[in-house]
């Protein structure tokens, strides 16, 4: 590992020398926040990037029934596509792991990020921010992670503690 780091430092050193010497053509246009707002859709675990908005599980259930249930089943039971609920306690042991949003996903912010960018499959990026908060709230509620009356906002969503939050280990070679 140590020698890899040294090598990397040397490479980085050479590269910055090269880049300065080569003097990039500088053909990028400086972007304003307004220009890239529609593309800037990633959400980090601390909530950075979450838009204003709100939603409850009850509001989310109606949207889920209309737009998600056909692929993800009643209350996230799955089939034909990914199961969203259940599977708690199934990650270890001999039986197949049932990896759902509830049993496996470590961050609630990832659900918002993914639903907003990629779902519903045939019409992604079509939900309003309030609708995304609502659907995320319903998925969390069907997993028993939040209560029926709880409202999700940019402030509350990053505070949701996912059951498998401590279930990940950053890989180092040899594991």
């Amino acid at each position: 590992m140590f020698s890899r780091k040294i090598l990397l430092t040397i490479i980085l050193g050479c590269l910055s020398t090269f880049a300065i010497a080569a003097e990039g053509p500088n053909l990028g246009q400086v972007a304003t926040a307004e220009e890239i707002a529609t593309w800037n859709i990633s959400i980090s675990p601390d909530g950075f990037g979450l838009p204003p908005g709100r939603g409850t599980p009850r509001q989310g259930e109606a949207i889920y029934t209309a737009k998600c249930l056909a692929c993800h089943g009643e209350k996230g039971a799955g089939k034909p596509n990914d199961q969203l609920a259940g599977g708690l306690g199934s990650l270890a042991g001999e039986k197949p792991a049932v990896k759902t949003v509830g049993s496996f996903w470590p961050y609630a912010t990832t659900i918002f990020d993914y639903v907003r960018r990629a779902m519903p499959y045939n019409d992604s990026k079509s939900l309003t921010d309030d609708e995304v908060y609502s659907v995320v709230a319903y998925i969390l509620q069907m997993n028993g992670i939040i209560g029926e009356g709880e409202e999700l906002t940019a402030e509350t969503l990053p505070k949701v503690r996912m059951p498998n939050r401590e279930g990940f280990i950053t890989f180092t070679r040899g594991q």
Partner: protein, 429 residues
């Protein structure tokens, strides 16, 4: 191990490992190959053979020019196969038919694919690459602008993190190399060093990661360590000399040599420089290795050393006993392949294969070894070692260290069983 045979020797080569494996140097010269067959002095003559026919294509003009060439119509079986996610036509994975190819480069039409929401039909004139986040000045690049930058070419494999996953199953799946290991391909990628673009944007000293995002309907996104982005990442515009194919990210994709395929984001539209990983869906709920204790290894980034024999392999029949070339591909996300060994007796004895030049870091390396099949049963295996000293593990060893509750990073030794009828099958042995 020394080669006892001089160029003029004309006798049967001695095996260097059991069950007929011959010295790898015998593949290098024609006279050595003759020595290996021991058949230069006598070849059978068919009784009453007819004269060779003068075929119609030898007598009439051939077909006219076409704008973009296609393979021979007789090669219609040399195609990708794929599986799709239920309810979709373009989400899933397709596989390279390695058993029908040779060399180190995968033709563009046969490069494996993994799409999360089909193949977008991107207009290159309106496509943009945005670089923002922890930078001094966020930048927007058009394709025309990027095409004016200094270019660099790099021959690199891309392997899906899920390639080889059937090796984790309890029983050997009755499949061949395409179904088992077809999610690895290798191309010459040409593009702009990402480091140059990041440098122009001005990286904040706090930055440690980037987020790379695609313009497909799934907005596929992954976090990449900034060190990798600066070290050898390319924004690739060309694939084997032509513009990157739509299925592989037209008009531009991220190339991270050696890293799992999913991170080589296609249809690249945005790079956000960040302090921490974004924890996207694909780096948390997918592409993590769940161990027996239920904990999951995350950010398993380079693909480990691996090899597989492509010929003979299932779907190809061995015919008469005699001399065959065992051939395959080896690769490592940690550098060059330094050695490939082949066994014909299930791993009891091994012989070093010849590595076909060029042997390049993080590229597919073709290996070859002559084999005199005696017509009896054999179990063929290959085992790669890379320049870091890493040795490709047996399946038992891979499962012993990680368990079998994952589908990712399966790099164990693959075994092909050859029957005395010449049939080749995938076996666990």
């Amino acid at each position: 191990m020394t080669n006892k045979h001089s160029e003029n020797d004309n006798f049967d080569a001695e095996p260097v490992a059991s069950n007929g494996l011959l010295d790898r140097r015998l593949v290098l010269t024609a006279s050595a190959a003759i020595a290996a067959t021991g058949a230069s002095t006598w070849l059978p003559v068919a009784a009453g053979a007819a004269p060779l026919p003068v075929e119609p294509w030898m007598k009439t003009p051939g077909a006219p020019f076409v704008p973009y060439g296609q393979p021979s119509r007789y090669e219609e079986k040399t195609v990708r196969t794929w599986n799709t996610v239920p309810g979709t036509t373009g989400t899933g994975t397709s596989r390279t038919p390695h058993h029908l190819l040779d060399g180190m480069i995968t033709p563009n039409g046969l490069h494996f694919e993994r799409h999360h929401s089909g193949i977008p039909d991107i207009n290159p004139d309106t496509h943009r690459l945005v670089i923002h986040g922890l930078v001094k000045r966020p930048l927007i690049f058009t394709l025309d602008a990027l095409a004016r930058y200094p270019m660099e070419s790099r021959i690199a494999f891309i392997e899906c993190g899920g390639n080889g996953q059937l090796l984790y199953q309890k029983a050997a799946a009755p499949v061949g190399v395409q179904q088992l290991h077809g999610q690895v391909s290798c191309a010459e990628w040409t593009g702009v060093r990402l480091a140059v673009l990041l440098q122009e944007a001005g990286i904040d000293p706090k930055a440690k990661w980037i987020l790379a995002e695609g313009a497909d309907a799934a907005g596929m996104s992954r976090s990449v360590p900034l060190t990798k982005a600066i070290d050898d990442a390319l924004v690739a515009l060309y694939q084997n000399g032509e513009r990157v194919r739509p299925a592989n990210g037209y008009p531009m994709r991220l190339l991270l040599p050696g890293y799992e395929g999913n991170m080589n984001v296609k249809w690249l539209r945005r790079i956000m420089v960040t302090e921490e990983p974004t924890m996207t869906k694909d780096e948390t709920s997918k592409y993590t290795i769940t161990r027996l204790d239920g904990k999951s290894l995350q950010f398993v980034l380079p693909q480990e050393g691996k090899s597989v024999i492509t010929r003979p392999s299932p779907g190809l029949m061995m015919k008469t006993p005699g001399l065959y070339e065992i051939s395959g591909i080896a690769w490592s996300g940690y550098g060059k392949v330094s050695k490939v060994e082949v066994s014909a007796d299930g791993g009891k004895s091994w012989a070093d294969a010849a590595l076909q030049e060029p042997v390049l870091s993080k590229a597919l390396t073709r290996f070859r070894l002559p084999w005199r099949w005696d017509g009896g049963p054999a179990i063929l295996k290959s085992r790669a070692t890379d320049e870091s000293g890493y040795i490709q593990p047996t399946r038992e060893k891979m499962i012993e260290s990680r368990g079998d509750r994952t589908i990712y990073h399966a790099n164990a030794i693959t075994a092909w069983g050859v029957s005395d009828q010449g049939e080749v099958k995938h076996v666990f042995a």
